[in-house]
């Protein structure tokens, strides 16, 4: 198992390398750059050249990339052109907030998705099954920003129960304040994906319900609760874990809209700001960190798989 994890971590190196080259290439393929924004509209040609040289942007692209790579290899992701702070510090401020949101949104999605998925699989064609179909379409069809704004209007503006602007409070410092801040963005994100999860779980359960071992379990006199809860669930959860992992990973960098609606200080918004200002080191740093987290979550899923499914042996 340890060998497997190490091998997977080694495989991460070429992935990050290729991705960073790709990002670098794309940044230079699009016109414009960070300098125009830095020097102002009335800057002279000389001023622009001076600032460009100051940031080392006058060197050939390949040299710039190799320079970045050399520093990155030692844990230095450079200095943000606009923030004038080390990229790593900027990301470090946002990362805990993003992880808080990702975890709480996953909790919401599972809390909604699992019961609905199970109920609709066990009682196909029932009212709950029919509601699920409508609801998952609705959950996916409603834009997150719109749901976010509605939630703010109801719970923050009308009822004044929760803050309209979600700051980041670490849960270990003040759990109640942390949850109050996270609740609305987590619901916004969680509802969106819970429809997918419920659908997926339903399909997975329905196919397991037809399996021969289910008949065996019933034939030996097990109560239905155990047949579904233990025999079927354990098998149906296998593909489900993959989807949950992918979904959680997508929250790391992909919750931009929700973060924007709630002005939540997450990694996604940082990345969008960096792209807006062409802050090359910051963009590159954000992408690398998101990528590493993405791979780490999927690795965690694979490890979890081996615990849930005895047939998987990573050696």
């Amino acid at each position: 198992m340890i060998g497997f994890v190490l091998r997977r971590l080694v495989q991460l190196v070429p992935v990050v390398l290729i991705a960073s080259i790709g990002v670098w290439a794309m940044l230079y393929a699009v016109p414009g750059g960070p300098i125009a924004g830095l020097v102002g509209e009335n800057a002279t040609q000389e001023q622009i050249a001076a600032v460009t040289a100051q940031y080392g942007l006058d060197r050939p692209v390949v040299v710039q990339y190799l320079d970045w790579l050399r520093r990155a290899a030692f844990g230095d992701l450079g200095i943000s052109i606009y923030g004038r702070e080390p990229v790593l510090d900027l990301i470090g401020q946002r990362l805990p907030a993003t992880l808080h949101l990702a975890v709480s949104a996953t909790v919401v999605a599972l809390a909604l998705g699992i019961p609905v998925g199970v109920a609709s699989a066990i009682y196909p064609g029932s009212w709950i099954d029919r509601i699920l179909s409508a609801w998952s379409a609705l959950a996916l069809g409603v834009p997150t920003f719109w749901l976010g704004i509605l939630l703010i209007l109801w719970f923050a503006v009308d009822l004044r129960w929760l803050p309209a602007v979600s700051g980041y409070v670490p849960i270990w410092e003040d759990p109640i304040a942390s949850i109050r801040n996270l609740l609305l963005p987590a619901i916004t994100l969680g509802v969106y994906v819970s429809g997918i999860l419920a659908r997926f779980l339903r399909a997975s359960l329905v196919s397991e319900l037809r399996a021969d071992y289910v008949r065996t379990a019933r034939a030996k006199g097990l109560p239905e609760r155990q047949v579904v809860g233990i025999h079927i669930m354990r098998n149906a959860l296998l593909p489900f874990i993959t989807i949950v992992g992918l979904m959680m990973a997508s929250f790391i960098g992909g919750a931009v809209v929700t973060e924007a609606v709630f002005t939540y200080p997450g990694l996604g918004r940082l990345l969008i700001q960096a792209i807006g200002t062409r802050d090359y080191p910051l963009i590159q740093g954000c992408i690398v960190v998101i990528l590493v987290l993405y791979v780490a979550i999927n690795l965690a899923v694979d490890v979890l798989y081996a615990y849930v499914d005895p047939r998987i042996d990573y050696g």
Binding site: T216, K220, Q226, N235
Partner: protein
């Protein structure tokens, strides 16, 4: 019969009266079981025999309330004196755990893959509070030991994938007997297993059943198994019992035309000469039953008779303890039609071989999961020589994993050979380029086992059959649509079905499409990989006869791959027996069946259940220990020695050469080859 005095006093364990089961399928009611009565007494084995759609499995599920809610059940089912039909869910659940044990068909899917075997064996008893959780593991160990699983203390904590097929089925038997049930229901318990493993499993089941004096309902399509284990037999057809009686009576003097025709249609190990007499047509679908007797359209006695067409006969006594449902039980079946063709035909021993395989090895690399390094080799085929002459049938026989299918696929060029040579019509096939290989393959075609998955479901039959012509660019040249229609005639399909899709054909018809597809390029060699294994018993004979006719008519050579020894005896000129990638014995059909000299061949032949109840006590069966080793780690010396009843010290170090056996034309690879001495002490020791 055998326990008349006991049955009189104790009464039946299971008593079924007027059982009807209907399924609602899109507002239509489909009758699957149409009024059946039967009883099973303690310590008695009742075999329910039938083909697909006869209602036999549905009956077994109905008697324990395991059918889905879409099923409507009528009639009375009394199990241990209690009425099952209409019983409360919890009452049924308790009854299943306490009174009934189940053994299902496929041990690969009946166990839950993610739960430990030991837990699965006892959890039913724990859930019903008949066993304390703390004692569960010890009880599971005991049960596994009862079904002959070695090292049960370790095995209880393992998962099903760590068990072999035969061990899984024995674990399922352990589960079935965990509650000391009064009734064991076994639904095709050995259909998915190899013959030598089937013998082990049936032995274990019979021993445990006798100890508990349990009643057994064994559902099967295999008349050989029936003859070996049944006390009484019920033959089902079209949702009804058409004949029932003691096993000897059913096999000696069957009275219903279906039973008689069925027994006549199966190939037998003891008589390979006669041509099979198939039952025409196919079993009826439950939603399209004929109005009168369900068997009437296929019946040699009653087909076309007005009474049979309108009136469904009831089951009535034809002898003591024997009943049949037929209006004309006393009429004899017309004699088997005399056919021009019959095996054996003279084999042209002088003809040069069409296919020659020399020193063939096929090794597959085992890759480690992550870095794709080769960590070992699976020796699927490990040095095989065979040849097939023009117009001849050579059969490759062996159990799963012996490499017989790999040989067929390698000859076709679907799998690359690791070493050795394959010559077709004098031309070496192993180092041909893609284009040359394609051209050469035109003369050899492959027929697959499963006619359900080997035909593309979205193409009409016409396109499926003509596809090889288009691939080889010969569509116009070889006659196009006219040629396709001719082939339909040749394989016995009506031209009106040309435009239909595979789902509209029955299994036997689909296999005919597969045969037509193989024949359209005018091949000289057909590789037939278990061509009848997936078909109903009454359909197998039709296809085997068709294959024989086509061989005679077109002068085809067959490489016939199969595990069913009766089928092989019926169709072959010569037979090669494979074990773990090697041929252990090869000879003419009659020599090999009458005078087998290799211990593995002898075990295989003795394990194959003979469809004759008299053979049950005639000779002791050789029940092989253990299972086939993995071809990734074959044993040293002779690969068969760990399971062999004749093995000596020499066998574990020195691999025997494949050489002629004196006095016969047989070749064999064994240090101790020789005829089987049925009275020998060695044999008695290995028999149970």
């Amino acid at each position: 019969m055998k326990l008349a005095e006991e049955t009189a006093t104790t009464g039946p364990v299971l008593s079924v009266r007027g059982l009807k089961v209907e399924f609602s399928v899109s507002d239509r009611r489909v009758p699957v079981v149409r009024g059946i009565d039967f009883d099973v007494y303690p310590n008695e084995v009742l075999c329910i025999v039938g083909e697909s759609g006869s209602g036999k499995s549905v009956t077994s599920l109905a008697v324990t309330g395991l059918l889905p809610e879409t099923a409507q059940i009528e009639g009375s089912i009394r199990l241990g004196g209690m009425e099952v039909n209409g019983a409360d869910r919890d009452v049924l659940r308790r009854m299943r755990g306490e009174d009934v044990g189940f053994v299902f068909q496929d041990p690969g899917t009946t166990l839950n893959p993610v739960l430990k075997v030991g837990r699965q064996i006892t959890e039913g008893q724990v859930a019903l509070s008949r066993l304390r959780r703390a004692d569960a593991e010890a009880r599971a160990v005991e049960l596994l030991r009862d079904v002959d699983i070695a090292d049960p203390e370790q095995r209880v904590r393992q998962y099903p994938h760590q068990f072999s097929g035969g061990m899984r089925q024995r674990a399922v038997i352990a589960m079935a007997i965990a509650g000391q049930p009064k009734l064991i229901i076994a639904d095709e318990p050995t259909t998915a297993l190899d013959v030598t493993v089937q013998a082990q499993v049936l032995t274990v089941l019979a021993r445990r059943q006798a100890e508990m004096r349990a009643a057994v309902v064994l559902i099967t399509h295999d008349l050989g198994v029936v003859a070996q284990v049944a006390d009484r037999v019920a033959v089902m057809y079209g949702g009804r019992i058409v004949e029932t009686g003691p096993v000897d009576a059913i096999f000696r003097s069957p009275r219903h035309p279906y039973t008689r025709a069925l027994l006549r249609s199966i190939p037998r190990m003891d008589a390979g000469e006669a041509r099979l007499d198939p039952i025409p047509g196919q079993p009826p679908m439950p939603y399209a039953l004929p109005p009168g007797c369900a068997f009437e359209p296929r019946c040699a006695v009653g087909s076309g008779r007005p009474r049979c067409r309108t009136e469904d006969p009831t089951l009535s006594a034809v002898a003591a303890l024997q009943q049949a449902a037929c209006h004309y039980v006393d009429e004899a079946l017309p004699p088997a039609k005399v056919h021009a063709m019959a095996k054996p035909k003279p084999t042209e021993t002088t003809a040069p071989p069409l296919l020659e395989v020399e020193g063939l090895k096929v090794h597959f690399p085992i890759k480690s999961s992550v870095l794709r390094r080769t960590t070992g080799w699976v020796r699927a085929v490990d040095g095989v020589n065979i040849s097939v002459r023009a117009g001849e049938t050579l059969s490759l026989v062996g159990e799963s994993g012996c490499g017989k299918t790999t040989i067929g696929r390698t000859v076709m060029g679907l799998v690359p050979a690791s070493a050795g040579d394959i010559r077709f019509d004098g031309q070496s096939m192993v180092r041909l380029g893609r284009g040359e290989m394609r051209a050469a393959r035109r003369r050899m075609q492959y027929i697959f086992q499963d006619p359900y998955s080997s035909l593309n479901p979205v193409l009409p039959a016409e396109d499926i059959v003509s596809e090889p012509l288009r691939i080889h660019g010969l569509y116009e040249e070889m006659g196009g649509a006219r040629r396709v229609a001719e082939l339909f005639d040749m394989v016995g399909l009506s031209r009106g079905m040309l435009g239909r899709y595979p789902s509209e054909f029955s299994g036997g018809q689909r296999q005919r499409i597969g045969i037509a597809r193989a024949l359209i390029l005018e091949p000289r060699l057909l590789i037939l990989d278990e061509p009848v294994a997936a078909l109903d018993v009454s359909i197998q004979a039709q296809i085997l006869n068709l294959l024989q006719d086509l061989q005679a008519e077109l002068g085809l050579s067959y490489l016939f791959i199969a595990h069913n020894l009766s089928v092989v005896r019926h169709i072959s000129d010569r037979v090669a027996v494979m074990y773990l990638g090697r041929i252990v014995e090869q000879g003419t059909r009659d020599e090999l069946y009458d005078n087998p000299v290799h211990p593995y061949t002898q075990s295989l032949l003795s394990a194959a259940p003979d469809p004759d109840p008299a053979a049950r006590h005639a000779g002791r069966r050789i029940v092989l220990e253990g299972e086939i080793p993995s071809p990734a780690a074959p044993p040293d010396g002779c690969v068969f020695h760990p399971r062999c009843f004749r093995a000596s010290g020499r066998c574990s170090v020195e691999a025997p050469a494949f050489q002629p056996y004196s006095g016969l034309s047989t070749w064999t690879a064994c240090h101790h080859a020789g005829p089987l001495d049925r009275k020998s002490a060695t044999l008695a020791e290995v028999s149970r």
